[in-house]
């Protein structure tokens, strides 16, 4: 490693520095430093945005909460407006890494890293979050679902950076679920994870949103299962149908953590558990 290191002091400086070839943004370092040391990533210049205050704010404005890309997971979990208005996000992030990792790792970093297992992506997909992408000409917004393209791949182009995430505040009637299967509770990369936002009406499911991790090239929303379940009561038949449909939505692989077969089984079981244990 013989990178040049620049501590970035403003968004303007960041945009300018991003022009140089081989420039890589560094923030919490929880993924990046490990990758660099393993030789999986080479950078000519490291642009450290960890002290860039413009990207470290959480703001509420007109039905939305905006979270800067360099906000740490701990900051998000501790923020009262997040816990009150989008509890699913705090719930999911508490399962991410460990205390030390949550103190350093950032929401923008987790999304740009684009792991199929990214824990922060599950609640954000459920919330219909948008990412804000900036370059020297301005800003564009992209649905998170469209931002994540596959392992390590996003729609970010040369010269662009992820400046923040916009989360529409959901109906407070939604109940939140997040379940992650792994080898241990902390510091585990999910074998499979399932999150849900659920609202009931007269003993039937009024609306359900579902998202899963580690069962496709990127974390995904499970729209066909959502459509199937909307307006229906939870019965042995509807659970069985949902189990079948969810298997068609995913494309898991066998890797060092689990087999594809196991992932098919466990994601269907997580969904059944969620449906059978939900509040009336």
């Amino acid at each position: 490693m013989d990178e040049q290191y620049i501590k970035i002091g403003s968004v303007e400086e960041l945009l300018q520095s991003l022009q140089s070839p081989g420039a890589v943004i560094l923030c919490g370092g929880t993924d990046l430093v490990v990758k660099m040391r393993k030789g999986l990533l080479s950078a000519k210049t490291l642009l450290d945005i960890s002290d860039l205050d413009q990207l470290r704010e959480i703001r509420q404005e007109r039905g939305c909460i905006e979270i800067g890309a360099a906000v740490s997971f701990s900051q998000i979990i501790e923020e009262a407006i997040i816990r009150e208005q989008i509890p699913i996000l705090a719930m999911g992030l508490r399962k991410l890494g460990s205390t030390q990792i949550r103190n350093r790792g950032t929401i923008g970093g987790n999304l740009v890293n684009a792991s199929p297992a990214a824990d922060s992506a599950i609640p954000l997909l459920l919330l219909d979050a948008e990412v804000v992408i900036a370059d020297s000409t301005g800003e564009r917004r992209v649905q998170l679902e469209d931002f994540l393209c596959g392992p390590g791949k996003t729609v970010l182009k040369q010269g662009e950076f992820l400046s923040g995430i916009r989360v529409p505040i959901p109906d407070p009637e939604f109940s939140s679920f997040f379940h992650k299967v792994g080898r241990r509770k902390a510091l585990t990369i999910a074998i499979a994870s399932l999150g849900a936002l659920l609202r009931m009406k007269d003993d039937a499911i009024d609306e359900i949103r579902l998202a899963a991790g580690s069962v496709a090239p990127a974390p995904i929303r499970l729209h066909p299962v959502e459509t199937l379940l909307a307006g229906r009561r939870v019965t042995p038949q509807s659970v069985e149908q949902a189990r079948n449909i969810i298997r068609q939505c995913i494309s898991p692989i066998t890797d060092l953590r689990a087999t594809a077969d196991y992932r098919y089984q466990v994601i269907a079981d997580l969904l059944a558990r969620l449906l059978l244990t939900m509040p009336n």
Binding site: M1, D2, E3, Q4, Y5, K7, L26, G28, G29, T30, V33, V34, M36, R37, L46, D48, S50, D51, S74, R94, G97, S98, T99, Q100, I101, N103, R104, K185, A186, L187
Partner: protein, 167 residues
């Protein structure tokens, strides 16, 4: 490049390569070897230190990132209750958390201990009377291969009592 930060209450200025990890800066350049390297990937917590009051893995932080920050390592913890008289026994210089770990037998090989103690310190800094669940969350990033964790849990409960002045 030159890096300036507060280490255990003292302002220091050091020269470090840009890609040096904080862990290596502490151990190799500053000879603060209480901070240990276990996995080097943020999985084990043996290298835990506090930056601006929060527990972090020093193996995942690059040295220039701590410029202007306040760092606390295990060495700073024992100093912070050090007594002026040189003839006081070692035990007197221990921080209450260190005393609790020793008294409750929460140490076997000792390699993970500085990390556990720093994570405990970060917890008790914010929460003087944590529940068992809060203790386990604070320590979830630290691995111990010897103790089976029960004695560590006991030690943290006891340390909290000591620091609240109950014993």
């Amino acid at each position: 490049m030159k890096i300036s930060f507060t280490l255990n209450g003292k302002q220091i200025l050091v020269e470090a390569d840009e890609e040096t990890r904080l862990l290596d800066l502490l151990r190799e350049d500053l000879h603060h070897t209480g901070t240990k390297e276990g996995c080097g990937e943020g999985e084990c917590g043996a290298c835990t230190v506090l930056i601006d009051g929060r527990a972090v893995n020093s193996c995942l932080v690059l040295a220039p990132q701590v410029d202007g920050k306040e760092l606390l390592t295990i060495e700073g913890l024992s100093q912070s209750v050090s007594l002026s008289s040189a003839d006081q026994g070692d035990e007197c210089r221990l921080h209450p958390i260190q005393r609790a770990f020793a008294e409750k037998g929460a140490v076997q090989c000792g390699f993970c201990t500085p990390g556990f103690i720093m994570s405990t310190y970060a917890l008790l800094l914010k929460n003087s009377n944590p529940t068992d669940e809060q203790i386990l969350t604070a320590l979830e990033g630290n691995l111990c291969r010897c103790t089976g964790y029960l004695k560590i849990l006991e030690a943290v409960r006891y340390a909290a009592e000591l620091m609240r002045g109950n014993k």
